[in-house]
Amino acid sequence: MIRDERIPADELQRIDDEIRSNWSTGDAVDFEEAIDYHESLPQRKRFADVLESADKPLLQPRAGVPRLDDQIELLEYLHGEGKADLLPTTIDSYTRDNEYEKAQEGLEKARDTGEDTLNGFPAVNHGVEGCRELIDAIDAPIEVRHGTPDARLLAAITFAGGFQSFEGGPISYNIPYTKRHGLEETIEKWQFVDRLAGAYTERGVRINREPFGPLTGTLVPPSIAIAIMLVEGKLAATQGVRSITLGYGQVGNIVQDVAALNALKELGNEYLPDEVVVTTVFHEWMGGFPPDEARANGVISLGGMTASIAQPDKVITKSPQEFQGVPTKEANSAGLRTTRQVIDMAIEQQIDIDGIEEEQDLIERETRCLMDTIFEHGDGDVVQGTIQAFDSGALDVPFAPSDSAAGAVLPARDDDGRVRIFEWADLEMDDDIKEIHKARLSQRADTEGRDQSFRMVADDVDAISDGKLIGRPQGGA
């Protein structure tokens, strides 16, 4: 039975050998040689150090194209013109599905035709050498961002290739991304990824790990997101990871977002072992964007404003072209600079908003309920607890496509635009907290003169792309 225990050295070695044989580029991975390479990197390319020593929020976009030279050019542009502090390399969908053969075909077609036949950078196919060319070319730290349930080979190659930060986790890259991967399966695979990061860490190369906070990106109640961050942070810490960036996706209500980021930081430090350096990342709005760049800039700016108050360690920016999919590099840079301008204008201002502490207290109480039920489900083991709690529905994520989560809990905004829970299903929560949510949603129903129903949920899902925060009835209050 899988438990929250460190993978033994021999087992690590066995799995490493096995997964490296999955694709030809796996052969080139040599741990000792990789340590040497990492040690040769200058301070300014060391992800954990740069992130942890920053005195204001660092900005990072999303970006990935199939060809190495194009990826270098893209990242140079985002660094130079967009003034990104931290850079990403977003991996293509085939690699996320471990379909390296198809990724190879796409990469070769991209090389032949010059067209982007893949929606990201196939790092496994580029191999250790290709990754290092990228690391060498770019004068800033770079993170691997993907969405891969089984990211073991990707981790082995990109770590050896010089990347020092790796997004994802067994829940956050499973529940929102795929239907049929079991949680037990993804936990086992991510234990290896974390153990590998831990092995580098023990040799002085601190690989930063970043659980994916926004989850389904759709009105996720903060406490659910935070609980999952704490679980993934604990799992990573068990495997020896010492630099962990917990994530949170903007819901659009400033008080709730600031409170959530505060709670994330607070609980992260409380629940994770002392030897872990906990940082936080704030994702600008991950839900639907307005089909209009001007309005999208408003959404992005609200994110910048929130970041200037909460001051997370990192902000993942959006672009004004979010609605239409992958942005041009110019639009990607524009999103960075709009965010930067708002943060730089607002961050030196003392902006203390009433009610943040109260909301933070509520979020922390909710998160503790969820963490308690996880520990109880697993008799103290967080791995078993997570699996069982998802199984019973005591832990759940709204709008989860995965068969591993009930996906029965439904959120809706209250009259102030804060995300509350409308349908609890089997989610574990103290009754007095449920009463608070109910009262807040009831207040909204009164304002709108309608009953609480799934229509609020539906209206809220589309509200920001329609230009509002709260999905009020048409022609209503």
């Binding site: 991304y177 239907k179 389904t216 496509p401």
Partner: protein, 146 residues
């Protein structure tokens, strides 16, 4: 006549929000809803429709590859023995194509109605209510005249 509706996202698409809302809407309108979730194959749709004697099969697709995913969909239903009203909705093609073209493409494929992603759930519920009523009447007429 059965008022069971089978819902799902076809192909390897993992967009779950739309069908979650649709499930709630059809539930609220009194239908029995079988929600197959995301990444549902043609066969899974057909089997579920057969098993639950579904009056309608509602296909959702938001990642732009619906045409490819729906090739042979109605043949699959037919060969499984399913005779249900079929709808499809979502972002059915990549890019900013003319929706009337898209509608024609999917009607050609056999869908009774085609919706874009801006359609309100109410509209889909109203359409299905009407289509099923009409179908019932036609069936009754057919029965009488036969």
């Amino acid at each position: 006549m059965s008022q069971t509706v089978v819902l799902g996202v076809i192909g390897s698409d993992a967009h779950v929000v739309g069908i979650t809302i649709l499930e709630q809407a059809f539930n609220a309108a009194g239908f029995d809803v079988i929600n197959l979730g995301v990444q549902t194959s043609q066969e899974e749709f057909a089997e579920a429709a057969l098993e639950h004697d579904a009056a309608a099969v509602l296909v959702s697709s938001l990642y732009g590859h619906a045409e490819q995913d729906c090739q042979g969909f109605h043949e699959t239903l037919e060969s499984t023995g399913v005779d249900a009203t079929t709808y499809i909705g979502g972002n059915l093609t990549v890019g900013q194509d003319d929706f009337e073209e898209t509608r024609a493409t999917f009607e050609e494929l056999g869908f009774d109605r085609v919706f874009d992603s801006e359609t309100d759930t109410e509209e889909a519920v109203a359409a299905l209510t009407q289509d099923l009523r009409q179908r019932t009447q036609e069936t009754e007429r057919a029965t009488i005249s036969s």
